[in-house]
Symmetry: C2
Subunit: 339 residues, 2 copies
């Protein structure tokens, strides 16, 4: 770290999450002395905006990290698998938004509101969890602290932006095609998303779940440090541009009243509770901000000690960029970036 | 009944469900000697198509049912409350698509694939269940027969057409407004539906559930004749024009394998099973037909003897019009309409 701050790289700087990472670093006044936007050959020559100036995107290569203090990766699993260890070997901290390292026991998987202590496990690579998982555990942790979590069933309503810019473009193009009586095309999604829902996110696994559902099920256990927690997820893409929602049914070991649950959530970091049922949050409420919105909290009468509720967050912000920058802030606060 | 067939009235003939009722009566060759399309003053003078000819819509009044053998109602609860008893007093059978009579003990609430025997309870008024409930119980009944249903958790993805033509028009208008940088208006839905999801269908109840969610919870128990069955529903409107989907987690009393569940569903009436996970059904697959599509069936590992799956159907057809006509067919087969 120079006296002026940190050299921060963004790998995947031209992507949807990369763009949010720049915005969040600036908004939260992370002490950046120099931003190093990195991307593939395809983006060579592009510029990205940083503090009001154009900043030339550099092509990612094995020499990219020599002067970098911390790199935020969001360029897909194979890029992370190859370049995160290279960066770490250069003494550069990595906060990785891909799923490549998340489930490795030696890699911390961190949501700062939930398990900041996981960073005590020394590692140059820290994994940023799956977008849906992040907002889920931010909602579950305060309730778990009150009553002990016993089982979670989640069904999601995930936006096109979870598939990046291509996903948002495809939703827009398909919508315009349909409204103009043209046959819509699909490349990013396995079926037409415009005016339909798709119960598939990421690839199918042998047990019939998708990889996205496995992420929610397994990452939840690791982040909450409940290795045996029963979790079942159904992940569904909906024709929304930005913002993920989910319906959660949670069972607890001990009784928990709606009022106790609401109090716990109101006092929880990163949460905005919508007490009035009719004031439920929607994706439009969450877009562009860092909060996890929780509404429609009620007793689930179908099981003992059960609650059901609705959770919404900006998947590119708290579900990705904001959480990554928060991890960087924790590393800095712990003195890891002081060189 | 004349020798040429039955006089059939449709109350709400100009609505979205009324239109499907005409189509389904014709497709299924229900023996109609004369169709009597009834609607409010607002639709006076309109015509609807019946067997290739224009048929003048009549204004609904207390004298509308004197020559009618059976009336299919889909004009909202207050119209049903007022006119269904009047029709019944005239000796006209009523199949009512509103929620007005569904939970009355003396009124049969019927899904022909599930509880045709409920029609043995003599009643001139038969209630047609809630759209989401119908497709849910068609999927659950074959599994219940194998393993004994113990608990159901459902989260729905319901289309704009559940709110009738106004709902579909509002989704279209809002979508066009947004794509043209105009501020969208909302009247039918409580929030903007275009490119967002709304976790509210019908009005809120004291316990924090919506009335739509109560319908799913209470009607499921009545139809399946399981008065104590624990059910929890979260009903969500999604920006889809036609076709409701739902994610169901079901727990059973006894073990049930995926193969046993699939066999039961493949042999069940009204069901199309999608065995391959990647061949999941979407709303586009269900539109315009009468089948309940089930896919993504897999073990729910978060509870003993549990399964989770995805159910899609055309809410205006099997969720409303088709189920009503099927009830009329059962009444006819039982000799009730031979007058």
């Amino acid at each position: 770290m120079s006296t002026n701050g940190l050299v921060v790289a963004i790998v995947g700087a031209t992507g949807a999450v990369g763009e949010e990472m720049r915005a969040v670093l600036a908004e939260r006044r992370f002490p950046v002395s120099r931003l190093v936007p990195l991307a593939s050959e395809r983006s060579a020559g592009q510029t990205v905006e940083w503090r009001g100036e154009d900043c030339l995107v550099q092509v990612l290569n094995e020499d990219s990290f020599h002067e970098v203090d911390i790199a935020l990766f969001s360029a897909g699993g194979s890029i992370s698998e190859k370049f995160a260890p290279i960066a770490a070997d250069c003494g550069c901290y990595v906060v990785d938004n891909s799923s490549a390292f998340r489930m490795m026991p030696e890699i911390p998987l961190v949501v700062p509101e939930v398990n900041p202590g996981a960073l005590e496990q020394e590692s140059m690579i820290i994994a940023n969890p799956n977008c849906s998982t992040i907002q889920e555990v931010v909602a579950l942790q305060p309730l778990h602290a009150v009553a002990g979590l016993k089982r979670v069933v989640a069904s999601t309503y995930q936006s096109a932006s979870g598939a990046g810019r291509n996903g948002m473009d495809e939703l827009r193009d398909q919508t315009i095609d349909l409204l103009n009586f043209r046959e819509p095309k699909n490349n990013t999604f396995s079926r037409r998303l415009a005016f339909d829902t798709i119960p598939q996110i990421d690839v199918f696994q042998d047990d019939g779940f998708t990889k996205e559902e496995h992420k929610m099920m397994f990452e939840t256990r690791k982040i909450m440090e409940l290795p045996d927690l029963p979790v079942c997820a159904t992940c569904v893409r909906v024709p929304v541009f930005l913002g993920h929602a989910m319906s959660i049914n949670a069972e607890f070991e001990r009784p928990i009243s709606v009022e106790d649950a609401m109090s716990a959530l109101e006092n929880a970091p990163g949460v905005i509770l919508h007490r009035d049922p009719a004031d439920f949050p929607v994706a439009a409420d969450a877009q562009g901000a860092d909060d996890v919105h929780i509404g429609r909290l009620r007793v689930d009468p179908s099981a003992p000690n059960a609650l059901t509720f609705w959770v919404v967050a900006d998947n590119l912000r708290k579900g990705a960029a904001t959480n990554a920058v928060q991890i960087a802030e924790l590393l800095k606060a712990a003195g890891h970036l002081d060189g």
